[in-house]
Symmetry: D3
Subunit: 332 residues, 6 copies
């Protein structure tokens, strides 16, 4: 049994020149449609020689900067002015995006913990597998656009990993800087297994991720960072003419030091006292958890254990034990 073959077909030929829109056809037999199909939009722009970029939005459904900027890019790209090939999926976890959720309402699948996927697994695993088996091998560069979703908010940033291959790391850092986000974050993932990131890096691809905002919304600023970042990346890889347009304030190279993460220890309402992007010193108050069901009880303070910038914060007022309340990044 050739179990390694994907059951997902596509209506696109990735070798065709020009700008083409099509779908991944994901078999989805269910109670409402015995022979039903999930149709995930995919587009391909190709012209002449040049690198192939695989561009992904909506890996998590409630992260919208990437989805919108990919749609905008596909609208404005003129194949005649383009070189190489762009394969773009605006919403990889489409059922989640339609439901405004992080994970898929069909199978509760977290796409970014489902790689390399499985061709006979859940819908989420099948989509992950198709990307891994059919699209990544075609790519030179893989870009996966994340934001914070409903529960987290980030200073807009491009993200890369610490890699063992120094040359690849240098080339990746150059691309991340070209993206031009306010922060460029260097991560060593503690739990890389199952991520699209790892799948791409293990295949030897140049890989870039982002964290571009959050609260399940977009702002003119975060969309502007994303639009410019995508243009810059295409220029950096000479797929579009011209040079990356960098902002006046140069990107800040940072990482997340030991102790950067602050986790909630109680049920209550979180009041942050530092603005996203604000400078903090170790010992500074980050916020308080108030006790809605026990108003007589004093709130619990949460303090920074390292110095740096408030890179990420929890969104919803309500918090439960184990929620990430704050992440601090520090200059490299």
């Amino acid at each position: 049994m050739p179990v390694e073959l994907s059951l997902i077909a596509t209506t696109l030929d990735y070798e065709d020149d020009g700008k083409h829109f099509g779908h991944l056809l994901v078999p989805n037999s269910n109670n409402l449609s015995a022979w039903g199909t999930l149709m995930v939009p995919v587009a391909c722009v190709k012209n002449g020689e040049g690198p192939t970029m695989l561009l992904i939005g909506g890996n998590h459904g409630d992260e919208y900067e990437g989805q919108i900027s990919v749609l905008k890019l596909l609208q404005r790209l003129d194949p005649a002015e383009f070189r190489g090939r762009l394969i773009a999926i605006p919403a990889l976890n489409l059922p989640a995006a339609r439901a405004d959720t992080r994970i898929s309402p069909i199978d509760n699948g977290n796409m970014n913990r489902s790689f390399p996927g499985h061709p006979r697994g859940t819908i989420t695993q099948r989509i992950a597998h198709y990307v891994w088996a059919e699209l990544m091998p075609r790519a030179d560069v893989v870009v996966d656009l994340h934001s914070g979703g409903h529960s987290l908010n980030f200073v807009p940033s491009a993200v890369m990993h610490e890699l063992d291959d120094a040359g690849m790391m240098e080339r990746t850092a150059a691309a991340v800087k070209a993206f031009g986000a306010p922060i460029s974050l260097m991560l060593r993932e503690l739990d890389p297994i199952g991520m699209l990131d790892t799948a791409a890096e293990d295949m030897g691809k140049l890989f870039i991720s982002t964290e571009l905002g959050g609260a399940a919304m977009v702002t003119p600023e975060t969309i502007s960072v994303t639009d410019r970042g995508l243009d810059n990346l295409l220029k950096h890889f000479e797929m579009l003419p011209g040079r990356p347009a960098l902002p006046n304030t140069p990107t800040r190279m940072m990482n997340t030091p030991e102790g950067a993460f602050t986790m909630s220890r109680g049920n209550g309402l979180y009041e942050p006292v530092v603005d996203l992007g604000g400078e903090v010193k170790a010992g500074d108050l980050l916020g308080r958890v108030h006790f809605l069901e026990e108003p007589e009880r004093a709130p619990v303070p949460y303090r920074a254990t390292v110095s740096g910038v408030l890179y990420c914060r929890r969104v919803q007022g309500w918090t439960a034990p184990g929620d990430t309340l704050a992440v601090i990044s520090a200059d490299l």
Copy 2:
């Protein structure tokens, strides 16, 4: 049958001097607890002569500025420095607040469309009725703190209604200005029926509402506006010593003119192009709806039909027909 009597008991005596914390005991017979009770925290601070203020947070569960600022106020109030009486409920729709939702997960009740409530109705209706029958009659001033919740985001503002009684309107406007939010909004409600607002005004109470932020989160800025606003109100009514501390930029008196509301007409992703609080002219582009499932389709622009300030915007990237995308306010 004395159907007008509430079945809700309380552990507080509202005539006691000092600062006291207690609960509303709402009978809640269900599958998990045949003789169960919903316990809604309530507090009373009383000292000497002076007006009674009824202060409500969490009328909608996912609006957090009010809930947190009420909790903070209750922690810091010293009865010895206080005059009059404050009856405060940090989260009126407590089940919704615990679930991070607008309406109650118990009975799908929208508290702010449930007044004057019913003593034998749903849990939400019973709580509304208790406020209407037991607390409002004791109050001189009623303050109900709203924000945007998961789906809307507002420029922080205090809100009052156009009233038939010119004297009451003048006294209310003075209090709204004393609150000191960036915007003071004058509304004529199109659909006032069922609101706590209407119930309070019909009873002849001085009533103030707010819209203090949104996206189901709080920021240091929105909490700061709220904390200061509550202190200012208490000072304005001489329940705390001192004079209201107004910000350097004076509050802007505004209303929402005909045509202020922009509603989504399609399923897609909303990209705003104007910042919350930004100035717009009639005809300006407010945003676009992109088609995630049809990337080849051009996005639909949404334009302002009146000039003013972008007072409110939709939060989530995903939108469906009928969602409010933008509200514009204009200077009076």
Copy 3:
């Protein structure tokens, strides 16, 4: 408080000549959209003098002949060849139609037991009230198109009620015959309260209903009966030129005599042995219920208690006690 006023606005002016499409705007505040609106499509075709017909599809969401035929009629109607006014709502219970269910997934409302509705009630009650308060008073003729939905299947039929007013009954019978369905059914409703039918008749309107097929599907035959029926009705009322086009086989005037209904008494699988539309005699076997969990147990036969035509049957194989398995109609 003017509680009798609907909160539903419309984007149409029913006095405008020509063919216009618009929406009912039903306020629908919920967790996903605080200031959301349900947009129910409505259309108006008007030209010159003539009667007003109110035409409703999708009173129950999973009954599709009416919905499709109304859409087709709106596409093909040319106002220039039309006289009078047609106000048409293709899917009155739109949330149910989108969910392929009989009743509304928003509030579990059965639209056809919600009349005359309430302007401050559930979404379903509000829509019913708008029809009752705003549309019915404008109409001379009200047509409400039903089918069997997921659980029932009917011989296509137009339906009228036995009325106390002999003149109205005669005029209604003439219209029902003009519709030209295979069966024209004369009903005395046992439980008319809450129905759109009753609301229209109580207001003195000429009212026609239908049962046009079922199993939540349509067939070329049932759509053809419906399309022709609507054309015929418009011709009958001289809103379109020409005379009703009646089928070769004349419609059969029938009713449902005492004993016409057969109800399931057990849990099992229903096997009908008579075709829909087949002739049966009292005592004939109609079908059997087989015991899926007790294969060793003999099936239970169900027999006709009256003679006539098998007018309606249960769709799903699985049945539970109390399900309607069969309805027999008899010639008048």
Copy 4:
């Protein structure tokens, strides 16, 4: 519109002599069965002259002593040895009984807060209305058999209310004593509105209730108390020959004094330290709530505020604020 008429039909004639089984036919239109019916079993035993007893089990679905004992009584009753009339419904809230829940899974209706019901209301309200409009008026004696359900456990007891009519109170007390449960409880209900009890008493019927065990189960002992109690009642009213068979230990006449109820104030695990039926003195430890998510935190003790017998306790280990943990009864 004759809105006071029930839409519920029955297959029984309550005037027929002999033992007959039938159903209440409750219209239940839903997505799975457009013309569906809920069939609630009812039985009638009648012979000669004598009083009419209306006997109800399963008012709450997860209270089983009543349901089982009514079924057993119906099996063993021989009309020839019987006088008068017994109308018995083994499970009044049948959908709840089938789901092993207190309230109805169809409409979340608590049957015992739904009286006198409504003929056009929810399924639960319609059933309540039928009992109130059609069955209660036929009855001289109404018996409603309760137990504790999933969340409470009781010492088996018959229950009556303090009544204004001294003669009725005396006759009721005689019947309660004849039932012969270990405890006979005299209650003044704080919240009688909506109860079957109140509906029966307001109609001038002799009314008896019970609390016969709990934890959603039955034991040989609790069934034995119930079986004997029903026989005794029928003998007491001379509907069966012979005299009530009283246990060796006479029933204890008790009530629930002020302070009898102990309510949980925290989330945790409840450990009772007194056996059900055990003697307690004011100040005695009743139990402790342990903190499963904070093992380092000392448990909170709950103490009796009155002396008496532990009449009722919470079942499930897990408890939340507002749950009833213990009820103490005291000798009259």
Copy 5:
């Protein structure tokens, strides 16, 4: 650990002569029954020498022809007139059949994508494994009876696969013809993995499937085709005396050519214009999708790309992108 052993026991001995009814006992520990068991009926009829047929109904829960015909066959079979052995399971996915759904409500398992199953997997996988490990090896012939379920409707047909083994293909074709359905379909499955079909064929068994109707209902015609087909198969394999009774219109040998499948591309209402079983030519209109939420928008036509017979159509009026709307079969 002997992980290959099934945990499913049975109350039948498949070696016993005569007609016996029993159960598969599938361990099903859940919140309502810690030591619970799912009891799936199974029957065995055995007499003398002869082949073993494994006969399966209800592989998908909402496909009823097979379930009913197997129950009828088990009722009428007289072991004395029978030769060989029949092992029959009327509803293999019993939880789905009881819920009137395609897939299992317990674990969302699609039984026909779960083979060869797993002895420690989900309930669905465990049942599949038992069939594969315990029943298939005993069988010479495997018959799996499918229909269209809620979402599809088929011309009644027996189905076989193109096989590599010419002899087996010839013997299978002979059996399929003996079944005598209006259409005999020859398929090359594109996605055979996980199907019961594949499991049986890989084990070298003669395998026959069917598509016998749909819309989750049965008709006198489809049951009649199924009843006769089962009798014919037993006669064909000389397990019953006599010769297959073929219909006057001989079965039509067909397949599904490239382009046979038409898939929905939009959200709307599907109106078919060709009857099931009707002849179509390439280019013919098959149906239209109407836009319920945009009545002003013209419907989208769907046309046949190949000529043949309309073998299958979508049932529900409502359709979403990716639904199968039509399948065309062509004569071999």
Copy 6:
């Protein structure tokens, strides 16, 4: 990829002397908390030399004796009087305990069929894997405290398995007797795969389980048996000073002979006629199933097929086919 490493971190150092409370930090990314963590309390008490006992409560969420007794033990243990090391988790399936359910509401995982777990599996599998990979190897003795949960009730008992290693069996039997429950049960598991028991025994650990009551509640008696049993075990292993305190009635060594289990065959209400712990003879009536929906039908008796003690019974009145109604144990 080092897939064998757990992603679960802990805040405890199991090598620290003294009494320490901490958490297992289980990554739990979900829609409400993108970077969320499930915090499972764990405690460690260590002093000097001595064996390590791993003590588990709440393997099933609705079994409370173990959870409460572990909490009480952790409160009262004084490290100074203790020798060796106790690693205790009061509620291993914490999400289930908080939901008062047997299995996890997060992933429907039955913890006791999830061993040895998987470090990248579901939440339940990850917790099981952590216990297997990180805690069990540290232990000499593993104790897993079970009760009956919502659906079963047991005579309090300690349980051990028949083991192939005679020496280990003897040492285990000595510990089980030291526990001092009314019954000590010797089991040969029919389906040991996936159990914590098997995982511990396969690793060569001395393993003891229990069944300490049920109905999702605790009683003073069952808690007393558990508290004493834990003290006795610690004394038996010389981790606490003193000798086990055995009850006056010595524990009864029993097993469950062939035929011990009685399973429901119908839908109805179960009436037990034997008390838990009562003596039964083969042929004795154990109980009856009554037919709530068919009161005219005689109940079905269930009889014992072996003699012994009623060791376990079903709790809820409602029963379905396949439920365990009774288990009988016999003296060894």
